[in-house]
């Protein structure tokens, strides 16, 4: 018998959760997971596997959950994905595995993400699964950046028997998982657990290592690394370029989230890094980072948190679930609105002058281009503004690696299938190549590059 609806996952109620940083969805119990796993049709075509950027054998792990073989289920996942606790929480499953689920044609698709998350939680609470590591090949690979792309590449290369060292410039591994995605969506203890699992496999992770400054990519190759993977991400915050943007009270989303997540400013003064939050906070942008910022603002004590987005609700790039959670929590959306000036008094932010927009002809992205309506300017009173309109590529590696080909925008040019760059032995993947995208896409790139690096080390002799 087909169960039409997904097994619901319990969540912290909105009125409670806006006052804390604990996770919003609470996860499945064993019984709930089994019930959901039983919904899977185990169809032969398994489009979900095709829909997964890292190609997890989804029907197999779901079947194992159904039979209460949780250890086997997590092993199946981990054969393809080293960060299941992360992916189960932040992947846009609705457009990937679940988007193509056969059951989803007529009913709600199997809640694959929730099941993945369940398996990862089960592993953490029961027995750690350590994937098999092939015998040492004697080859060494340097991975620059301990974000989703770098960690995935590192895990995959280690499984193939290569010695892997990951260089991270911040003081904790995880990249955007650590500094960007908030605690209430991805608890940092979970990121640490996934990173620890990689270390148990023998991946060496070195923090506080600013490659480009302590040594260059060329020097890594000279110093005995047979290949280098660059996964340095999109860390450079973009600003609006409007007057008043340097006023006190205006944060980039990167700064706002880094203070809160990586530096734990929400626990100031117990932790040393402060953050300031006004009564009314406006976040500019419509992606997941904007949702994260506006919801973080509420939890930091803002009385009102507003999202200003220049297109309409239909074009919001954020995941439906994030928008849903934001709305539940009382975030107010002001669509078709664009800031043109930030207004200050004695150096402190007071207001944001906006203009109303309408949608014109489709642009290159296929979305209708927002056009400002003449004479429609108005001022929003505001204490804190968070600019969440995207990030550019981190420039340090391209700048210090002269023969590495980059695009006009500063992204590294790399083959999407292999991650090969213009430089022999140097591969790249994730946001540094594609521009800001999703965690799982970066992981997919890391995984493909790892396979290509492995082939390179075996065939070309390194």
């Amino acid at each position: 018998m087909i169960v039409e609806k997904q097994t619901p996952m319990r969540e912290q109620p909105p009125e409670e959760r806006i006052h804390n940083f604990f996770e919003v969805p609470l996860g499945y119990s064993e019984e709930e997971a089994i019930r959901e796993a039983e919904r899977c049709l185990q169809c032969k075509t398994a489009p979900c596997v095709e829909g997964c950027p890292v190609g997890i054998d989804i029907p197999r792990f779901i079947e194992q959950v159904k039979h209460r073989q949780f250890a086997e289920a997590i092993a199946t996942i981990k054969a393809a994905n080293d960060l299941p606790a992360v992916c189960g929480r932040v992947c846009p499953q609705e457009t990937q595995c679940q988007g193509v689920c056969t059951l989803g044609v007529r009913f709600e698709p199997v809640a694959i993400g929730r099941l993945e998350r369940f398996c990862a939680t089960w592993e953490a609470e029961n027995e750690p699964c350590c994937p098999d590591v092939a015998p040492d090949t004697g080859r060494r690979v340097a991975v620059i950046g301990a974000g989703p792309a770098g960690l995935t590449a590192a895990g995959e290369l280690r499984k193939r028997g290569h010695a892997v060292t990951v260089f991270e410039l911040l003081h904790e591994a995880g990249g955007v998982l650590m500094y960007g995605i908030p605690e209430f969506r991805l608890p940092k203890a979970i990121v640490k657990r996934e990173v620890d699992a990689l270390c148990r496999m023998g991946v060496e992770i070195l923090v506080n290592k600013v490659i480009g400054r302590i040594c260059t990519v060329d020097e890594l190759l000279e110093d005995g690394y047979d290949a280098v993977f660059i996964g340095t991400g999109a860390g450079l915050p973009r600003f609006l370029g409007v007057p008043g943007e340097n006023l006190n009270g205006v944060y980039s989303a990167n700064e706002f989230l880094t203070r809160t997540n990586l530096m734990r400013a929400y626990r100031f003064p117990e932790y040393d890094t402060p953050i300031k939050i006004g009564e009314r906070v406006v976040t500019v942008g419509g992606g997941n980072v904007a949702m994260d910022s506006s919801r973080t603002a509420l939890r930091l004590g803002a009385r009102e948190s507003i999202i200003v987005y220049r297109r309409s609700e239909e074009e919001l790039p954020a995941r439906a679930e994030e928008v849903h959670h934001a709305k539940e929590e009382g975030i107010r959306f002001q669509f078709l609105t664009n800031p043109v000036e930030l207004i200050g008094e004695d150096g402190l932010l007071k207001g944001m002058r906006c203009v109303r927009m309408e949608l014109g002809e489709p642009d290159q992205s296929g979305r209708r281009r927002p056009v400002s309506i003449e004479g429609s300017e108005f001022v929003i009173e505001v204490d804190t503004v968070v600019i969440a309109i995207g990030n550019g590529p981190h420039p340090l590696i391209p700048k210090t690696t002269p023969d590495l080909e980059v695009t006009r925008r500063g992204n590294i040019v790399a083959d999407p299938e292999t991650g090969r760059t213009s430089k022999r032995g140097v591969f790249a993947g994730g946001d540094i190549v594609t521009g800001a995208a999703t965690v799982i896409e970066a992981m997919g790139a890391g995984k493909r590059a790892a396979a290509a690096i492995d082939a390179y080390l075996r065939q070309d002799g390194g």
Binding site: L169, L170, H171, Y179, V207, N208, K209, V210, R213, I214, C215, G235, L236, P237, F239, E245, N246, N248, Y251, S252, N254, E255, T258, R259, L262, M263, R264, F268, P269, E270, Y271, D272, T273, P274, K276, D346, G347, L348, H394, P395, L396
Partner: protein, 282 residues
């Protein structure tokens, strides 16, 4: 972990540390900085590098104890202890060339970062005029170090208890007004001092480099918290700087941004002092 190899008190609330970070020591150049974090709950503190010894792997820093973290470092971190995190070298190095005659101005704790620049300029064959200023005689440090690298040295104290009475900007103006050819000025210290020095050198059309210590988190270009207005364009002090053309910097904006967390900083310090006081009573 990064071990503290030595710790000296240079003056009240000003200490010099040498911290073991061989990778940084090997590559750092004058004008660059590091970010350190004392412990698991600590903030990331940017500090300009004073000196490096590639042999011992030691990186010398001078820390003025102004807030909670710097006081805590002074009170609780001793030789043989280690700080948790230490990353660098960050920022763009000073442009050291043979300019001819250069003036290196250092105010207060800014004297520490200007010292390696003066030394490098001296080594590059420049005639180096040093101007260093302190609030009072008991705060004097690095005086002899400057004597060793400067062809001419002016020492100022605000209260006149040592050297000339007044501000570093006074001899700077006198030198420029005397008609001496000065090819370049470095001025490092409190924002107001850098502003005043830049205004003076602008009158005499002498290129002037300042080093901006804005509030920052990562120090690698990711947070944008350190953005400053240079010639009407937003620049990141951490990667585009920390050195900029002093004639183009909006110092008022810099000062406003530096003071944004004054309240939180005071709270954190009060809380720390109260705790430290309790600890002392036990």
């Amino acid at each position: 972990m990064y071990e503290i190899l030595s710790k000296e008190t240079l003056a009240p609330a000003i200490r010099e540390y040498v911290i073991h970070a061989p990778e940084v020591a090997r590559r750092a150049k004058p004008g660059q900085f590091i970010v350190l974090r004392l412990h698991e709950r600590g903030e990331r503190i940017p500090l300009t590098i004073v000196e490096c010894d590639p042999e011992t792997g030691g990186v010398t820093l001078v820390v003025q104890e102004v807030g909670k973290s710097t006081r805590e470092m002074g009170d609780r971190f001793h030789v043989g202890d280690a700080v948790l995190d230490f990353a660098g070298p960050l920022g763009t190095p000073s442009e050291i060339e043979k300019y001819g005659t250069v003036v290196c101005v250092g105010g207060g704790v800014g004297i520490a970062p200007v010292y390696p620049i003066a030394r490098a300029l001296n080594e590059a064959g420049n005639a180096v005029i040093g101007i260093i200023g302190y609030r009072s005689r008991d705060l004097i440090f690095y005086h002899e170090r400057f004597q060793a690298v400067c062809d001419e040295l002016y020492v100022m104290t605000n209260d006149g208890t040592f050297g000339g009475k007044g501000f570093v900007s006074d001899p700077l103006r006198e030198i420029l007004a005397s008609g001496r050819a000065v090819d370049r000025v470095w001025a490092i210290g409190p924002a107001i001092m850098m502003k005043v020095c830049s205004e003076i050198t602008r009158e005499f059309d002498v290129p002037t480099i300042v080093s901006l210590n804005s509030v920052m988190i990562d120090g690698t270009g990711m947070c944008g918290g350190c953005r400053v207005d240079v010639g009407g364009v937003a620049k990141f002090a951490c990667v585009d700087g920390p050195e900029f053309d002093g004639h183009r910097v909006d110092f008022d904006l810099l000062m406003a941004r530096q003071s944004y967390y004054a309240h939180e900083e005071a709270c954190a310090l009060d809380r720390y002092m109260a705790e430290a006081g309790e600890g002392a009573g036990q």
